[in-house]
Amino acid sequence: MLCDQCKKREAVVHITKIENGHRAELHLCAECARKQGNFPDSPDFNIVDNDFFRKMAYPDYSGQAEKEPCCASCGMKYSEFNRLGKFGCPDCYAAFGTEITPLMRRIHGHTKHVGKVPNRGSGVFRTTNQIKRLRQHLQKLVRDEQYEEAAKVRDEIRFLERQLPPGDRTGGK
């Protein structure tokens, strides 16, 4: 089959486009394809894309971000994170803000942690975590039908909840 454009060389690239339900086929030789930018050898076509993670999060994404987020604590740029697939420091999670939630959904299918919480920290954070821990413990006790112990834990949760400022009372749910 000859190239659709130059009609001289053998066509080696075959493109099928479907637009508005209309199907169009295009057969090109290597040279014409390269001119069009549809040839696999052209430098901007890369299977292992540098924007792998961004594309995981936003399948529609193409091209560079307008202004690239950068982590103030460790200096990691979003593009660097994309390339390495690894964060630079704990603060990167906040620095790349809105990009992270969809990424987590793609990887894990969820965006909210429901497992173990540390018992440490300070102030409100500590109390909410303690409440979270106790709630997990309470569930286990109820499951094991240890109702006496469960009642004690429930009272403890209520006591801790009273110590939280009003806005944070739902914390740890």
Binding site: F53, S73, C74, M76, L84, G85, K86, F87, G88, C89, P90, Y93, I100, L103, M104, I107, H108, G109, H110, T111, K112, H113, V114, G115, K116, V117, P118, N119, R120, G121, T128, Q136, G171
Partner: protein
Amino acid sequence: MKMLKDLLKEPLAPWQNGSGDVSDIVLDSRIRVSRNLKKYVFPSKATDEELAAVLAEGERYLPSLNLLGHGTYEAVALTDLTPLEREVLAERHISSATQIKTPAQRGVMVRQDGAVSVLINEDDHFCIQTAAPGLQLEQVWDEASQIDDTLESKLNFAFRDDFGYLTASPSLTGTGLVAGVTLHLPGLVMMKRLNRIVQVITKLGFAICGLYSERNEYIGNLFQVTNQVTLGISEEDILKQMKKIVGQIVQEERNCRSLLWTHNQNAMKDRLFRNYGVLSQAWMMQLDEAVELLSDFRLAIDLGVIQERPQAYPALLTAAGPGYLQYQAGRELNGEELDLQRAQTLRQLLRTYAV
């Protein structure tokens, strides 16, 4: 250091005592829990001083790990070990291939029975690794969680209410927990029933991969099932699901074995005895051959074809490893020397573990 060296000398660590549920098919259960310090950048981005500070933070709390009462811990800096020692440490899963790549400012805290090690400055600041023989997922998690609690009572771990524990890789964010169960599945492989299992497991958010592979082929019928999801699911639920999946695989494996046994008893016996002969008589042996022969050796024990201690299997598997062989020899060995040493070591150990 002496404790660690004693541990590495033996082909079986004290924890590998053959106990645990369904230990004829499940070799071991392992947990890895990743934790990071709030104030520090992750190891891949950290300077030498920062790495040294994290290493010191970890080692400072070694005494509180001893207080847990499950055994004495020893802290070892990777730079204090020879390259051969580091290699065998990774091979025995006390360290890891990733960690020994850059030994500077990296270290491990190992428990004397070898079942627990805390890797410092691998991908994350801390990685708590626990292992137990057979299917004992709750126990290994309890152990890891206790160590986590102990370290956490002294150190401030990076944690957010929404994303949970923050890790260098987004694939671990949340619980930071990866559980792995090692299975010996010769029946499923022989009956070609593994593909279907792989498909189902993948859909459930778990993965199964070969422990040894050669040219894209799994060898030795050894597989590891691991969880892929760490966010939005609790540790207990991960382990519960995993236990169910493993239980299912074990059941299928048993069915396959009994089918093979009832329909091909003589052919099976012939093959198992022949391979046992090669294993106990060969003068030179490559790793892939050893791993394959050992699989048949274990199956022969399980089916009662030969009378050997089941414990010989994990011992010989370790002993077949190039890291172990070179460590025993005390020097680097070339290909031929390695194959000679392997055959000789396996012959010797077969006698050691003979009933």
